[in-house]
Symmetry: C2
Subunit: 488 residues, 2 copies
Amino acid sequence: MSKKWTSLLVLFCYLSCGFCGKVTGKVLVWPMDFSHWINLKVILEELHLRGHEITILVPSPSLMMDHTKIPFNVEVLQLSVTKEVLMEEFNTDLYSVIFELPRLSWWDMLTKLAEMNERFFRTLKRVCDSAITNKELLSRLQAAKFDICISDPLSFCGELLAELLNIPFMYSFRFSEGNVIERLCGGLPTPSSYVPGSTTGLTDNMTFIMGKAEMWLIRTSWEFEFPYPYLPHFEFVGGLHCKPAKPLPKLDEFVQSSGKDGVVVFTLGSMIQNLTEEKSNMIASALAQIPQKVLWRYTGKKPDTLGPNTQLYDWIPQNDLLGHPQTRAFITHCGTNGIYEAIYHGVPMVGIPVFSDQFGNIARVKAKGAAVEVDLHVMTTSDLLNALKAVINNPSYKENAMRLSRIHHDQPMKPLDRAVFWIEFVMRHKGAKHLRPASYDLTWYQYRSLDVIGFLLACVATIMFLVTKCCLFCCWKFGKTGKKKKRE
Amino acid sequence: MSKKWTSLLVLFCYLSCGFCGKVTGKVLVWPMDFSHWINLKVILEELHLRGHEITILVPSPSLMMDHTKIPFNVEVLQLSVTKEVLMEEFNTDLYSVIFELPRLSWWDMLTKLAEMNERFFRTLKRVCDSAITNKELLSRLQAAKFDICISDPLSFCGELLAELLNIPFMYSFRFSEGNVIERLCGGLPTPSSYVPGSTTGLTDNMTFIMGKAEMWLIRTSWEFEFPYPYLPHFEFVGGLHCKPAKPLPKLDEFVQSSGKDGVVVFTLGSMIQNLTEEKSNMIASALAQIPQKVLWRYTGKKPDTLGPNTQLYDWIPQNDLLGHPQTRAFITHCGTNGIYEAIYHGVPMVGIPVFSDQFGNIARVKAKGAAVEVDLHVMTTSDLLNALKAVINNPSYKENAMRLSRIHHDQPMKPLDRAVFWIEFVMRHKGAKHLRPASYDLTWYQYRSLDVIGFLLACVATIMFLVTKCCLFCCWKFGKTGKKKKRE
């Protein structure tokens, strides 16, 4: 009988753990602002559609996450600082990164950067403190019995919260340049001989908790990224936010009026609000010289040199415009989201990288022949004009962009479906420990086999020592006998 | 007008390269015998079902590939040696590996192994020569314009043929123990600190052509394998041959007669035909002592100690038996195919590894708590009996086997579908170059950044040399002046 019961029990577990079925679960989200949020939101909407209950922790002064408009359960983390103050601080820093830092001496630049980093991490810490010191919130979250926490390794705290609530967690992330975060916290082996350089720095202190992430959903893929080694608990879901283009009721007249020349779409992303007057005039005068119509997302002062072919907008439906058959090129600051939309729709690019991973991003699409790069700091009107003419008139850029697009679309499963699959997998199985390499449990000297090498060296040294001693003893013995014989 | 034509051309390429559609193609296959063939056949049957034209090159004396029964286009490679001679040679070698080698001294064992390897590779070379020196065959294959060649890195020659015919090729393979082949030929980074040891050896000579493989379809997966780093052009498709169990019309009466105790399935695989009389008697007497009925696939002499609960068979429907609800345990030689069938159906195992990757395989399922290992060379009747009692009566083995089974079934896409997807991908895109890491184009010292380190060391040495020289010069100068002053 006991065997029968065991079999029944096993069968029950088998079925209840969702062997082929679907479970709906409770998802806790520790988000990151800006482009990270744009991307994560798409995953959360899909999870919501599939019946999962989403609860998101949003700081009161978030810049792009308006907690009154988020269609999930929202826990607002009240901070004393207002959104306006934070926005002002952020814009000052960003302006400084783009226009001031490149002109500073090396030493001043490092000092300034460290200062900004300190401010950035201080804000993050304040947000984190507001959550983990709030006992009432914690006990409410504890009582809700979440199945998973989805976090972002750049906006640290999600992993700490998951640890406090004792639930598995996953990261959603764009690969950091040089994979510093993934290498230090995710155990990724990336030979520096062919995986490009680094811009970020984190200490080993974070590894302990961050290394516990069940999976890393990485927002790139191989038609865009340079291939390198990775681990089984990394899933590459780049471009999960891209969709077929919808019609453009408001912009359609302007776009269609471009005729056979088509249009150029231009945006420097959600973070950059304005440029110096000199830069914006220089750019506008380049745009004025092309036969294409230009849609420029720009909220700064209208440049004096703006041509009649160029329209400024506070916001544009970027994905729908890039998917429009009239679109000939995309001028971009090289954020990952925008680049993926251009790849999805096969649009060649002119890249003007501004900060962070944008330099690495343009290097990738340039190497694949789908983009031309111009440098914001030294570019002239003719530089931008020539870059635009190249990507529009030289068919190789369009062909390469279409090749990347074909590869991007030709996947065994859509990136969004894979992201959702693995989140649900972690919920169903209470983790994904079978994907976890043993390297996590090794110290740095064990990982590099230094303990083994050390032991072998010690053995060799001991043997050499003994052999030498034996030889010396024999020589001494032999010498003595020899001398004795001689004396005799 | 030229722009319009360019757009139309691009659109045509876009559609004709099969952006969302399906293409049927011509597949050339360079197979490997035995369990490799069992696995590859499943992929080929699926490709055939999807309308692809398969042509397979089969050596006339193949042991498991009967060219008269293969339902694809077959090109028979005529060899002077007969199937019977090869079988005899093979059985002698196998018997020697299992029963003689372990008793030999270390030196004699190595000599004997080298002899066998030499014989194995000589046969492979003979097969290879029979293909690549046959000009008529080559020109026929050239004329057929294949889209892809599927090969096995152990049965070398497929890559050479693909090179001669100028078509992309892919490998289908079980990971080699210690990943020696994948490391040397596929560029896989596997830190020896946590990726277990090696049994195979290949020279760097093979890298040149083998490194050109577009993709590696690896016949393992992470519920079974210990996780380690891999590269984007490795796809893990372990268990692709497993299927839901079909009814057992012939064996059903015997299986059902086992009642609540159930049955044990026992096979040492397709390669091992017989054991020594002593071993078979020892095994049979252990089997006679369990309450379960036993189905034993064994073509050797019937053991004298065979119990009434045990039936011998020349062949058993292994997958269907393992999927039968009456099955309590699987005694296996730990071949990858059999282990995957046990994982698929959630059956705990008693492993008796015999040679090759079987030792690594049992280590994996043992570590995951789904198997007990016994050593063929030293085991006694009570060892086997205790192992069987453990996996049948201790529920943890069944639970762990079921856990592995749940993970195996819970994949975003079935392994066979993924294997077929990537074969079709390579056909559609004439390769998969976007998955290829740049490490392939580096020399070994570039890969390890020794050129960079060397240059930096040279810089440091030069600076130190100059600084020392300067110091010496200053000291000398200062000393001279000092002496002069003193003298004055």
